[in-house]
Subunit: 306 residues, 2 copies
Amino acid sequence: MTAAAGDARVENPATGDLSRLSLNTATTKSWTLAEAVDGTVRAGLGAIGLWRDRVAEAGLSEAAKLVADAGLRVSSLCRGGFLTTADDAAAKVALADNRAAIVEAATLGTSELIMVVGGLPAASAPGGPALAGGDRDLVAARRRVAMRIGDLVPFALEHGVRLVLEPLHPIFAADRAVISTLKQALDLAAPHPARAVGVVVDTYHVWWDPELQVQIARAGAEGRLAGYQVCDWTLPLAADPLLSRGYMGDGYVDFASIGRWVTAAAYTGDVEVEIFNQAIWDTPGDEVLAIMSDRYVRHVLPGLTR
Amino acid sequence: MTAAAGDARVENPATGDLSRLSLNTATTKSWTLAEAVDGTVRAGLGAIGLWRDRVAEAGLSEAAKLVADAGLRVSSLCRGGFLTTADDAAAKVALADNRAAIVEAATLGTSELIMVVGGLPAASAPGGPALAGGDRDLVAARRRVAMRIGDLVPFALEHGVRLVLEPLHPIFAADRAVISTLKQALDLAAPHPARAVGVVVDTYHVWWDPELQVQIARAGAEGRLAGYQVCDWTLPLAADPLLSRGYMGDGYVDFASIGRWVTAAAYTGDVEVEIFNQAIWDTPGDEVLAIMSDRYVRHVLPGLTR
């Protein structure tokens, strides 16, 4: 039940259909974009999910060419967001950065820009001056996110890119994302067209939610289910909870049930594996791809097959 | 923003009304029940929240006499619950233990028995055999909780004790409580009379919830708001997240807003301070009471005053 990579043997080489499986480049952190593209092709996957840092290192045009030449789909670009600041000047910078991310997504050939919306402004300044009461105002931070999503929608529509709101586990509500549930993400998306604002289901963040089945169905019915990301909730938590994710099957997530709900919501898109975990980052990339492919076939794929 | 007790000075001695403030005995872990009762009286608080381990050490009749003689209200007894097992024999043992807790609550003079319902059965057996698929079935675990609450209701009613469902932060969904939101707790309570099944709002567990205001209002309207427990969400998390709680004001919880919501829901009961934190446990009890009283007056009480 731990995420120690040493325990994660490939018990059977993956023999299932990997065409919907996507490597999120954060899972193989030590790889350059070119290495990640090559590794993804070598492992027989159909898609890749890109982080902006890897794209920037390669150069945007070169990155787009690399992926296109390899014949891979880009399942998503990670990430825009960080829209909670109460400071007007900082908000302008954040909006400009999100517009740049929208252009990057369009250039890379993906319609889906994952949005991690940011935490309480106070949490961005540890060791800073004493907090004013307003800095703990979660309701106001959420209101600013709603407003700034609205600001970005026209630009996103112009570029054929969808802002994909990602609810993060409530463990990150203070310091990373004030969107904590799928229902909340869908409520924020509701004023906008489905091709402008969508949602992503990341099992690590939402597996515990009593409303999960209902809200996944709603996301499907509204045409907003823009992505499915998988990894496991393992215990004990890592010292940095951000790095506490595990391979599918190493923890407590019920992939069979969640997969059925996603499939019932008519999701037929790619399935990204996005794992932040130091032990996995220390494992050679090809080995990581072999393990995640095996785990995908054994734990995730059965739920996706009607 | 950390929970280090050394940082937690009493900046102003508490001069506000402490009549609704209650010491949960888990906050002063090193104190016996007699010491906790004496300390609570010395600090001028109106109530005490009891854990069963301290009561058992003192003996049930002696504990009841101690608290009554001191003129303190018992705001709650912690705790019943742990009802998720899939094993029939283990379920019988759990139900018997909950009936014992109901009798203890009645004997101690409190109507409110806090229920921590338990996590996934699989999480109770770390290092055990490989998990069967069913052990990750959160939906089934929640169904068993609903059923067993129903089993306990008649006995609770007979004894004038309310089963108070506590939603725990989703960080504990795997290993401690499959009730993760106030809405879910209220939905589970709904089939039963309000004097049989209630809910408690613990800020540490629910501060992040986008539905919090709405569900607190609902709890009030349904007559089920049975307790208000306060402590803060601090970062970084302690190595054991269970011990990661801080004094009010040391973290990210917006006590002013939540206090207004609780007050708008017509809650006029006691306000328990329940902090699990090694640094606070290592601080002399009288000092802890002085700090928590000061923080209560500065951060919590303003929200409770209409």
